[in-house]
């Protein structure tokens, strides 16, 4: 018995170490919180989580199309779809496919990161392994890094010093060191979005909704610039019940999907996005 315990397989010992480390981290975070909350004389320190009005404020900021993520540069396969189906393409066909595909591949990562911001590193790595096309990876990383910059340069100073602030600091430090074929972290959009939403006080559902709506808005804006329809039609689609239902349906569908089971629900989307590089003329990066 004793011998067994000594030799015990490396995996279980590793597991134990990880658990203990997680406990330590948790305890440190709690210590920090309690230290902060005992400083009663400092009026700003007592606000640990953003107040409801501040969370509405951030909800509006994060859903604003002026948020500098560079989303306007990406069409998420729309441009390629139009080029592949020159005669038979309609936006009303593409929209549900794109929304479904985007939700099934990325929404579980937003939800997981919001529920447990500490898992950001792990989620980022897992998403990096799951994005199987160059163009899609580029789009996700470009927007993720932009969001991280927005956090560092603009949001951080306005958010109370919750433990996750240090987490994001560590994340971007690691990102600067990451290179090579298999980087430790890549800064994909979805997990960072979930983490930051939770830090600025958005609810889980709000985070998911803003994430999905931003995708639809970016698509529709791309459609306007690709001359699919005009700006009034664009607002009509956005305001319509169909888009609202679609987003709610997707949030429902992915609410309990573990990230290990997130996957592509519209396989041709991978082909269109992957083949974007083959277009003779391009106005978008994806």
């Amino acid at each position: 018995m004793a011998l067994n315990a000594v030799n015990g397989d490396a995996e279980s010992i590793n597991g134990e170490i990880e658990k203990l480390e997680a406990q330590l981290e948790d305890a440190r975070a709690r210590l920090k919180l309690s230290q902060l909350s005992t400083r009663d004389e400092d009026p700003t320190a007592s606000i640990l989580k953003p107040s409801p009005s501040s969370s509405t404020h951030f909800l509006l900021l994060l859903s604003d199309s002026a948020l500098p993520l560079g989303s306007f540069a990406f069409s998420s396969g729309l441009e390629s779809y139009l080029a592949h189906n020159p005669r038979a393409s309609t936006f009303s066909d593409f929209l549900p496919s794109s929304v479904s595909s985007f939700a099934s591949t990325t929404l579980p990562f937003v939800l997981a990161a919001h529920r447990d911001p500490k898992s950001l590193f792990e989620l980022d790595d897992q998403l990096d392994a799951a994005v199987i096309c160059t163009v899609g990876r580029r789009a996700s990383i470009a927007q993720g890094r932009a969001l991280l910059s927005v956090w560092e340069r603009s949001f951080r100073s306005a958010v109370p010093d919750v433990p996750e602030v240090q987490l994001l600091r560590d994340f971007s430090a690691l990102l600067r060191e990451s290179k090579g074929e298999i980087p430790v972290v890549s800064a994909h959009l979805a997990p960072l979005f979930g983490t930051i939403c939770s830090m600025v006080g958005l609810s889980l559902h709000q985070a998911a909704y803003v994430f999905m709506l931003s995708h639809v808005k970016a698509l529709i804006s791309a459609a306007v610039r690709a001359s699919v329809f005009g700006p009034f039609q664009a607002q009509k689609v956005l305001a319509g019940e169909r888009v609202q239902n679609m987003i709610e349906l997707m949030i429902d569908r992915e609410w309990n999907t573990p990230v290990e089971k997130a996957g592509q629900s519209v396989p041709v989307m991978d082909l269109w996005i992957g083949r974007h590089e083959l277009l003779y003329s391009r106005i978008f990066n994806s």
């Binding site: 590793n14 799951a130 298999i182 569908r253 089971k261 629900s265 082909l271």
Partner: protein
């Protein structure tokens, strides 16, 4: 006299294959066991075989609703295994949506060992529910080539992505060494197709599949597969630009075509066929693995395409023997 067939393991649908290098220097089977409804057959080895060949079969030619097959494979250092099937893996309808038919494949490949898995496509029938999980744990110098493809069903009977659900998950892990101990996920490729989910968004699944009759993924990793991966990446990069116009005169074109090398001629012939048969594909390098995705209007078009690419490049036949390619030609 003992039974000429390998002994069976105990749980229904379980199977196990162990391959190692024989003292003579060829790959050989150390163990092969299976249990109904799974069946494994390996033709008797020949002296100069490049890899061990194993057929994955199922009794009755398919998986009945609720069947569960679990195959685990160990490929020891320096040995090679080729896995093939005999005809489509049919997935019959499930009596109810919560009865799931499943196949699980767990593969461990050691250093300098290799696996080639080029099966026939999975053919899910109307009202079937299927989950497939394939997990590959590779040593740093291991190589694999595997194809995972699914068809629209029995097109002759009007089936067109008419199943309830089809889920396929492929994971490639790099095994941690003794010092680090932790396995690292390299690639996770998951496809989740659901008829009812698609209808919720107002469109039947077949519409979102956009007239493809077969959809496939080829995954490549390791030193042995590097030339194959590069071949796909180069051919992809050399595809003609979509929406480009050919401003050459007929004369110039004829002249240029006459001056083409043999491989250029082969490429342009293949590209012409891709267009004709509705083959769309893309290739990408993801964390040291090459992933090729393709869709085609018909199963035969898809088979011809992937087969012609792999045969043309030549590494598969060279390293595993031409039998490894029997399902893609």
């Amino acid at each position: 006299m003992g039974s000429p067939f390998p002994a069976s393991s105990s749980r229904a649908g379980d199977g196990r294959i162990v391959v190692k290098l024989s003292p003579a220097g060829t790959s050989s089977l150390e163990a092969i066991t299976y249990q109904y409804p799974l069946k494994l057959i390996s033709p008797s080895p020949s002296a100069n075989q490049k890899s061990v060949l194993v057929f994955i079969l199922s009794y009755g030619g398919g998986l009945v609703g609720g069947d569960s097959v679990n195959l685990s494979i160990n490929i020891h250092e320096k040995s090679k295994l080729s896995l093939v099937t005999q005809g489509h893996t049919k997935v019959f309808k499930s009596p109810s949506p919560d009865i799931v038919t499943s196949q699980t494949l767990q593969v461990r490949v050691d250093d300098d060992a290799a696996l080639c898995l080029l099966p026939d496509p999975v053919q899910p029938f109307e009202s079937s529910v299927y989950v497939q999980t394939q997990i590959f744990k590779l040593a740093p110098r291991a190589s694999i080539c595997f194809l995972d493809w699914v068809t629209q069903g029995r097109s002759a009977r009007g089936e067109d992505w008419s199943f309830i659900r089809w889920t396929g998950r492929n994971e490639i892990w790099q095994r941690g060494d003794e010092a680090v101990g932790k396995d690292r996920l390299l690639v996770r490729d998951t496809v989740v197709l659901s008829g009812p989910d698609s209808l919720l968004l107002g469109r039947p699944l077949k519409e979102t599949m956009h007239k493809t009759g077969v959809f496939g993924t080829l995954l490549l990793r390791g030193d042995l597969m590097k030339p194959v991966g590069d071949f796909f990446l180069n051919e992809f990069a050399a595809l003609p630009r979509i929406g480009a116009r050919d401003f050459r005169s007929a004369e110039d074109r004829a002249q240029e075509e006459a001056a083409q090398s043999e491989s250029e001629r082969w490429s342009s012939h293949r590209i012409h066929k891709e267009k004709e048969e509705g083959v769309l594909w893309s290739a990408a390098n993801v964390r040291g693995c090459v992933i090729v995705k393709f869709g085609a209007k018909t199963v035969e078009a898809g088979r011809n395409w992937i087969g012609s690419m792999l045969i043309r490049e030549g590494s598969i036949a060279h390293h595993f023997g031409s039998e490894a390619l029997m399902c893609v030609q």
